[in-house]
């Protein structure tokens, strides 16, 4: 049986379903204020968000001061990014592929900031963008005000299908998918005081052998399948509020 997203992406005729999900989700939450409140405060997670905002707005290289925000300076546009992942990241062929937000951020900061280990900066930026878009609705590959590209939707649908197979092979024997799907929204999280994106969690998850790579296609596919399950929910879902901070 196809998932919600598969229905969404396999047929152009189903695209209006996006607005239906948005409507359902808006009706099911208590308003944007409550969602933003989940991410407010001065805790360690907020410090990660603040670090992400610094990476976003300031280049680490003073001789090349172009930062993310130099070009992407419209917060209204950037708000929708987090909720639109995983999606196809267009890159010179053959590098275009479906990526998670963290993977796309890592690719971007490695290129623009010249970082050898882009994961810490990408994790912080992911936390910042997720905070920025906490009240937006999860619509993989669809961003408000942007065209919908059938080819990209098809690539995402293929990724979802692969991800479902990865899940069945690696995860299903221990974890029920509805419970796992919603928990991905708790990332990036703090674990033993250190920022941990979901991609790193999957890479370090001991029962998973051979090991997944945080920046690999299998992780992106797995995330595409999980996010397809929760498409239509707000990114900062109150149902998982208690899991956002390290206990």
């Amino acid at each position: 049986m196809p998932t919600r997203l598969q229905v969404l992406v396999r047929s152009d005729r189903a695209l209006p379903a996006v607005s239906v999900w948005i409507l359902i989700a808006l009706l099911s939450v208590g308003g944007v204020g409550s969602i933003r409140a989940l991410w407010a405060g001065n805790g360690p997670r907020q410090a990660l968000v603040a670090e992400g905002e610094r990476w976003w707005s300031t280049s680490p290289d003073p001789t090349n001061p172009v930062a993310c925000a130099t070009c992407h300076d419209d917060p209204a546009a950037a708000r929708g990014w987090a909720a639109s992942f995983p999606k196809l990241r267009p890159l010179p062929p053959p590098h275009s592929r479906v990526m998670t937000l963290l993977q796309a951020n890592a690719e971007a900061v490695a290129r623009h900031y010249g970082l050898e280990d882009p994961r810490p900066a990408a994790t912080a930026i992911t936390a910042y963008l997720t905070r920025l878009g906490a009240d937006t609705i999860i619509t993989p590959a669809v961003s408000a005000g942007q065209p919908v590209f059938p080819e990209r939707m098809a690539r995402l649908a293929a990724s979802v299908t692969r991800g479902e197979r990865v899940y069945a092979r690696r995860c299903e024997s221990c974890h029920r998918v509805p419970e796992v799907a919603v928990r991905v929204l708790a990332f990036p999280r703090l674990r033993e005081g250190r920022p941990e994106p979901v991609e790193s969690f999957l890479e370090d998850h001991r029962p998973l052998t051979p090991r997944l790579r945080w920046d690999g296609q299998e992780v992106a596919d797995l995330m595409a399948a999980l996010m397809a399950r929760i498409a239509g929910r707000p990114l900062g879902d109150p149902a998982i509020a208690g899991r956002k901070e390290e206990s």
């Binding site: 130099t70 267009p90 010179p92 290129r111 590209f149």
Partner: protein, 229 residues
């Protein structure tokens, strides 16, 4: 009394005529380019046909002093629209235009905070290939990059033909994400119908970090770049 069959024939005929007219309608990408302050910016609008960043360069247009451009394309579908203006970071935009329709966009460019990282165009030249008896000419551009991160966006635009081209690097590059070498990039041009006219040609280069040269137009004499105030 009008026969039902005649009405049907008329309806089918009109529908076919409508489809034919629709098929002939132009497919156009047009728009305006401004600074954040709303000042119109002149420059270049160049298209990749298909998914953005695929390096399949297609049509293009000059952006006039009013910041306006218009590009007629051969078919609907996705395009990578790249906008360039001297002193500004180029803007890549994934767009989609329906066949027979006009897509109107508004692009806002931000100035480069420093020009110290821009690729440097040393010189441009036009060279007939004698062995081809005037049927082929080479357009050559000598480029270096202070950070060594040139990419495939070493671009030539023929305004008379409305065509954009990626110039071939000094050595073959299999990976478009790799850093491209400094040196002489070139483009082979068919001049069998008409000799090459340097006045038609414009050049721009952007590296992997989006640092963008000024647009180099005739007489193709590079000048030191300046930071837009």
């Amino acid at each position: 009394m009008i026969r039902p069959a005649l009405v049907l024939e008329l309806a089918v005929g009109l529908a076919a005529l409508g489809l034919a007219l629709d098929a002939r309608a132009q497919t156009v990408i047009t728009g305006t380019v401004t600074s954040k302050a709303g000042q119109p910016l002149a420059g270049l609008a160049l298209l990749e046909k298909g998914e953005i960043h695929n390096n399949v360069w297609d049509r293009g247009a000059l952006v006039d002093a009013n910041g306006r451009f218009r590009i007629e394309v051969s078919s609907g579908g996705p395009y990578g629209l790249h906008i360039y203006s001297s002193g500004y970071i180029y803007a890549p935009n994934a767009v989609k235009v329906d066949a027979g329709k006009t897509l109107e966009v508004h692009i806002v460019l931000v100035p480069e905070p420093t020009r110290a990282n821009d690729p440097i165009v040393k010189r441009v030249g036009f060279f007939p290939w004698d062995a081809k008896q005037g049927k082929v000419a080479f357009v050559k551009m000598d480029i270096s990059d202070p950070n060594g991160d040139l990419g495939p966006q070493v671009l030539a635009f023929n305004a008379a033909a409305g065509r954009a081209y990626a110039m071939a690097p000094p050595r073959q590059m299999r990976d478009l994400k790799a850093n491209f070498p400094n040196g002489v990039y070139q483009l082979e041009v068919d001049t069998s119908a008409a000799p090459i006219n340097p006045r038609d040609w414009h050049f721009v280069v952007a590296d992997h970090r989006c640092n963008t040269t000024d647009i180099l137009s005739f007489p193709h004499e590079p000048k030191p770049p300046r930071v837009v105030p």
